[in-house]
């Protein structure tokens, strides 16, 4: 897919998140205003507790902000109901988690197929896309295995395949290389960078990993729940 025109895929306006920690309010995010455009390969960095994961959760609708507004592809997330939000996430966002979070009872092929099945993609098309995706991430030979029969690197590849197979507009990756050795991490990062270039999907990482920061074309630093720096490379 070739990028023709950049659009604002994520817009946050004054996003604040306050957690209740045993009766003590903890400010995870303090009025974050941010715009991310289509096709970006952005890393959100910062020390532990800076609000990176909270920010990813809120811009994906996995969590609700205490104050402020999130627009995803022009839609206000807080105005959507439970089912609408589930459908919206399914069709627009792919997730890659630090702990892979694959469905343990489904095989590699079924994990990748799952989201398309929810979306009602016809069987033949699902199969073709799964085969193509597993080939892209180099897992064609392990399609019948369960996640527990795979290495960490292989599991993360499955997670990448699952996130990308339905061609969502945005891929959110929360510390995707944290549980991987540097060689595997680098290989996966290269793969995601290449997919970003080829498909024009927007990639947003939360990370501590210098390698990810190096690859990112935009680096946003969060500190105490606020944007400290926002640097385009």
């Amino acid at each position: 897919m070739e990028q023709t025109q950049k659009t604002d895929v994520i817009v946050t306006e004054g996003v604040t998140k306050v957690y209740d920690a045993d009766g003590i309010p903890v400010n995870a995010l303090n009025g974050v205003d941010l715009t991310i455009q289509s096709g970006e390969f952005t890393a959100i960095v910062g020390p532990s507790g800076s609000g990176k994961t909270t920010f990813l959760n809120i811009i994906s609708g996995l969590d609700a902000p205490t104050e402020g507004k999130v627009l995803l592809s022009g839609k206000v997330l807080s105005e959507m109901g439970g089912n609408e939000l589930s459908d919206f996430r399914r069709d627009n966002i792919g997730f890659i988690f630090q702990a892979y979070n694959l469905i343990p009872v489904l095989t590699v092929e079924e994990n990748v197929e799952y989201i398309m099945l929810l979306a009602g993609v016809p069987k033949a098309e699902r199969h073709d896309r799964v085969v193509a995706m597993l080939e892209t991430v180099g897992l064609k030979d392990v399609e019948d295995r369960l996640p527990t029969q795979l290495s960490g690197g292989q599991q993360q590849r499955v997670a990448i395949a699952r996130a990308m197979v339905s061609e969502p507009a945005i891929i959110l990756a929360d510390e995707p290389t944290a549980n991987l050795d540097s060689k595997t991490g680098a290989a996966l990062l290269d793969m995601m960078s290449q997919l970003n270039a080829e498909t024009g999907m927007t990639f947003i990482f939360s990370t501590h990993d210098p390698m990810v920061m190096e690859s990112a074309r935009r680096l946003i630093t969060l500190c105490d729940g606020q944007i400290d720096t926002d640097e385009m490379k």
Binding site: D87, I103, V105
Partner: protein, 404 residues
């Protein structure tokens, strides 16, 4: 796919599945045995009470059941009996004459209830011969013989060969007074009946009470007691005589029937307690299972699974386990009920049902003993599954994925 995940989750958490299934299987089996034994006991009691005594259906002159009287008689009972026998569900019928009086043996006297029986028909219908525990049943032809209840024999200090004199008032207003030789002592299974009953040949009784060719009751035995309501209606229609009342045993022995119904309510309480234990067991294991998999539900929701699909995932798991448990429970229930139907369950102290005492309970293998536990296990499991299912469906993905 949700169904596939549910299936695989069941086999993945084997220990929890076995625990959940065990609660359901034990509940189903116990419930099935309770129903099998109680149905078996009720059937036996009903058979004893109806088949050997009051019959399944009774035909009287209108109003006799509510207010019995020596004058409310059926005259053409032979032809009525033949008409009744025309119903293919009728196995046998037998006419009876009833009257009260005073019975004396030597210097001892007491109130007696005279039952005039057609010996051949009575043996066929209610096994009259088997009630005679001492001596012999009445002769086929009227021979001025009497068979008296065991209690009555004791009261009158009568033995075989003793003469019993019956005093009463006949249907024509004259004094009924005659003497009969006691040739048998009967035990009907009901002490109260045996303390007052004196059986005479029907023709002897008709002669004593001046009831020539007339009877008070026609007792009908049917081949299937469960169809007694329909057969009663069919006989009523067939007789087409508004001066006759045709009553099923439930009406004839209303207090016995009501006592049985209230005993059955006691069984419902026992079943409820069993199901409550099942429900608590299932709720506990399913809830634990959901809590353990909070993170997984969070992931499923994060990648686009709708809350309703998560809800169904939990319900499917419960329902699949319930179906498996019901199948196993049904096999066990049928097997155990079958064993109890052959060998019975003997009580050290006799059990009383509907006023009838018996020492051994025989179970019945019937559809009810499978359907009621099946429905209750399925309903209660699904019902208690609702809470964990709703809990899983309402999980906030971000929060759920923070749990370990």
């Amino acid at each position: 796919m949700i169904l596939k995940i549910a299936f695989r989750n069941i086999f993945r958490q084997k220990r929890r599945t076995i625990l959940t299934a065990l609660a359901m299987i034990v509940g189903f089996t116990l419930s099935s045995i309770v129903i099998g034994l109680s149905d078996g006991a009720y059937s036996n009691v009903i058979k004893m009470f109806t088949g050997n005594r009051i019959g399944h259906i009774q035909v009287h002159r209108e109003g006799y059941h509510d207010k019995p009287s020596i004058y409310k008689t059926i005259s053409n009972y032979e032809s009525i009996g033949e008409t009744i026998q025309g119903n293919t569900d009728v196995e046998a019928w037998t006419p009876r004459v009833y009257a009260g009086g005073l019975g004396s043996v030597g210097e001892k006297s007491t109130a007696v209830r005279v039952i005039g029986v057609d010996v051949v028909r009575e043996i066929k219908a209610t096994h009259f011969d088997k009630k005679v525990v001492e001596g012999s049943p009445l002769s086929i032809t009227a021979s001025r013989e009497a068979v008296i209840g065991q209690g009555l024999a004791k009261t009158l200090a009568a033995t075989l060969g003793s003469k019993i004199v019956i005093f009463s008032q006949a249907a024509d207003g004259s004094i009924a007074n005659d003497e009969y030789t006691i040739i048998g002592i009967a035990e009907s299974g009901d002490d109260i009946t045996d303390r007052v009953t004196c059986y005479l040949h029907i023709e002897d009784a008709q002669e004593l009470f001046v009831l020539e060719g007339r009877v008070h009751e026609i007792v009908v035995i049917v081949s299937n007691i469960n169809k007694v309501g329909k057969i009663t209606e069919a006989i009523q229609e067939r007789l087409n005589d508004s001066t006759l009342e045709v009553l099923p045993w439930q009406v004839v022995a209303k207090s016995f029937y009501d006592a049985m119904q209230s005993d059955k309510q006691g069984d419902a309480v026992a079943r409820f307690i069993i199901i409550l234990i099942v429900a608590i067991g299932v709720l506990n294991t399913v809830l634990m299972s959901v809590l353990e998999r909070t993170r997984e539900y969070g992931v499923l929701k994060a990648v686009g699974t709708k809350p309703i699909q998560i809800f169904w995932l939990v319900i499917y798991e419960v329902v699949i386990i319930a179906i498996g448990s019901i199948v196993i429970g049904a096999l066990l229930g049928v097997f155990i009920n079958y064993l109890f139907s052959i060998h019975g369950l003997t009580y050290a102290e006799g059990l009383t049902l509907g006023g009838v005492e018996f020492g051994t309970m025989y179970a019945e293998v019937n559809a009810r003993s499978l359907m009621i536990p099946g429905i209750t296990v399925m309903l209660s499991a699904t019902l208690v599954g609702l809470f964990p299912a709703i809990k899983a469906a309402r999980i906030m993905p971000a929060k759920a994925m923070r749990t370990h």
